[in-house]
């Protein structure tokens, strides 16, 4: 690290404190998502529609094991919300920022690459907070009764899932063309919703999907979230799978991400 003495606080060419730089980036990233119509559609409107659709209609067969349908569906929708923000929305935003040189420009300001990453991660968490409030309110209105003891565990699972899917988002955004990321990020979201074990537990998926989804980060996140909020406990296997994916994807993102 550098050993140069920093100039007096008000001197020209002095950086703002690190926390203020990261906070500014967090606010900037969060506003960018909440202002963008398409991003709002994917992160807020889609999960709420899925919640209402799965609760109020029986288009999709789900074996709730005798539990109230809203109690069974809501954890999966929260897992979906986490993936839509941490993965789909973040992958697309970062890919276009990378193509447009935004990442390079910000890397030359006092924010730096580390501050940029921190700001992105906190921005994802801020959007997720908005999602939890909106989805939680709708679910409660529909009669949702989460297991009181599981809320803290669910928050922890959500953090791990966020780390995992943000890493995947950065891996795609940092290696592929922006247009490719746009197509792929939406496609992957749809595939994970339909057959990835997010909403429908892996053991209820047909044939080989059951085994596949169990070991996908989506299936693990869905199972862990359901375990926490249904009060049955977070399955250790799901937690181990999610942690392993997080480590692998974080390594790959750090190794293969190209800034330009």
């Amino acid at each position: 690290m550098t050993t140069t003495t920093p100039p007096a606080p008000s001197a020209p060419g002095t950086a703002a404190p690190a926390w203020r730089r990261v906070l500014a980036q967090t606010g900037f990233e969060t506003r960018a998502v909440l202002r963008n119509g398409e991003q709002l559609l994917v992160t807020i409107v889609l999960p709420v529609l899925v919640l209402i659709g799965l609760t109020r209609t029986s288009v999709v067969e789900i074996d709730t094991g005798g539990l109230a349908r809203i109690d069974f569906v809501t954890p999966g929708v929260l897992a979906l919300a986490c993936v839509s923000t941490a993965f789909t929305s973040q992958a697309i935003a970062t890919a276009f920022d990378r193509r447009n040189g935004v990442l390079r420009l910000l890397a030359t300001t006092p924010l730096g690459r580390g501050g940029l990453l921190a700001g992105k991660l906190l921005g994802v968490l801020a959007v997720e907070l908005v999602q939890v409030v909106v989805i939680g309110a709708v679910a409660l209105a529909l009669g949702w009764q989460p297991a009181p003891g599981g809320v803290l565990a669910a928050a922890g699972v959500g953090l791990l899932g966020t780390a995992c899917f943000t890493a995947l988002a950065l891996l795609l955004a940092g290696t592929l063309r922006a247009e490719g990321v746009l197509a792929l990020a939406n496609l992957v979201l749809v595939l994970l919703v339909v057959g990835g074990g997010l909403l429908v537990p892996p053991e209820q998926l047909p044939g080989p999907l059951e085994h596949l989804a169990t070991f996908l980060p989506s299936g693990a996140l869905g199972e862990a979230m359901r375990g926490a909020l249904l009060g049955t406990g977070v399955p250790p296997l799901a937690l181990a799978v999610l942690a392993a994916w997080t480590a692998l994807l974080a390594w790959a993102a750090a190794r293969f991400f190209r800034w330009q």
């Binding site: 550098t2 001197a11 950086a15 900037f28 390079r104 030359t108 006092p110």
Partner: protein, 336 residues
């Protein structure tokens, strides 16, 4: 390939700086090498930029200008040579340098979804004591589009916003990559005024350009770059009149294919004692440039020669050599 026409010694780029000079230089690049796919894009480039001066890196497209400044900005790691900015290594000492260095990228790097004013406020938030945004915005005419999203800005508006972002943190060194590309004349002059002001405040301004008038009007020192090397450097007068001789040019348009050697001989004959002083070329079909001691007699000799050969010049001007002439002499006239 011409080598250096700069006066050897003091600010000749190839000569290593004495330690005192190196310490004073805000930017000091020595023997920089950068390869892409095994090809040397920058091949042993030397460059110096001082505080309180505007340094232009002038060269054709693909000469290695952008790669060079990106190495100075810490965005690329050199494959060889040394780069020092304010005495520090742009990659290893990035954290210490970032607050002190302002950067305007060639491709802008502006987030497209945000409003112009918001982008500028955001970049300003990275600094402890940023410039007054109202005053800076007014200088560059940003107020008129502050509420427009970057996506909808014109090329010139984006450039002005990028420049504002580069200088908002009161940097000691400013790198501007093609700052006036895509700008209308009014914007260009606003940008040039700001660049001069930054220099007067003591900043080292390094700008890349292929615009001759930009280098000629703004730069205290010009480094002409081609094929990844500096092929000439010095002040604008140094480059224009390397022999301290106030050569002037006679330009004229006439029928294509005139005997330029005969024209040069006629001009030489009219200016006694200067045999061989005149060089006449036809850079474009039917467009001639004669360089030499262009006095009244030379002018008369030229028109007499044209009259003798029954050629009517459709245009005839007397002027001094421009940086463009020097540049084309150095880098050749073929397209690339």
């Amino acid at each position: 390939m011409p080598t250096s026409i700069a006066p050897s010694g003091a600010d000749g780029a190839a000569a290593p700086l004495r330690p005192a000079e190196a310490a004073r230089a805000a930017v000091h690049v020595q023997g920089l090498v950068k390869r892409y796919d095994g090809r040397d894009v920058v091949a042993g480039l030397d460059l110096v930029a001082d505080a309180g001066a505007v340094t232009a890196v002038l060269g054709p497209n693909g000469a290695g200008k952008t790669t060079t400044v990106e190495c100075c900005e810490g965005l690329r790691t050199p494959d060889g040579g040394t780069v020092r900015v304010l005495g520090l290594d742009p990659v290893a000492d990035a954290r210490a340098l970032r607050p002190r260095v302002g950067v305007m990228l060639q491709d802008g790097g502006l987030p497209t979804g945000a409003r112009a004013g918001e982008v500028l406020r955001h970049v300003a938030a990275m600094y402890a004591a940023p410039r007054d945004l109202g005053e800076l915005g007014e200088r560059l005419g940003i107020g008129s589009f502050a509420r427009t999203t970057v996506r909808r800005l014109s090329g010139g508006q984006r450039q002005r916003l990028s420049l504002a972002a580069a200088v908002v943190g009161r940097p000691e060194v400013v790198f501007l990559d093609e700052p006036s590309a895509g700008m209308d004349p009014q914007s260009r002059h606003a940008v040039w005024d700001l660049v001069r002001e930054l220099r007067d405040e003591g900043a080292a301004v390094v700008l890349t350009t292929h615009l001759m008038d930009e280098a000629e009007d703004l730069a205290d020192r010009v480094h002409v770059v081609d094929h990844g090397r500096v092929i000439a450097s010095g002040s604008v007068p140094d480059l224009l009149f390397p022999d301290a001789q106030d050569d002037r040019t006679l330009r004229f348009d006439a029928a294509a294919g005139l005997d330029v050697t005969a024209v040069a001989a006629a001009l030489d004959a009219a200016t006694p004692g200067t045999t061989g002083a005149w060089l006449v070329t036809e850079p474009q079909r039917g467009s001639y440039v004669g360089t030499g001691p262009a006095g009244p007699r030379a002018l008369a000799a030229l028109t007499a020669w044209l009259a003798d050969h029954d050629v009517l010049a459709s245009r005839l001007t007397v002027g001094r050599r421009t940086l463009e002439d020097v540049f084309l002499d150095l880098t050749g006239r073929h397209l690339r």
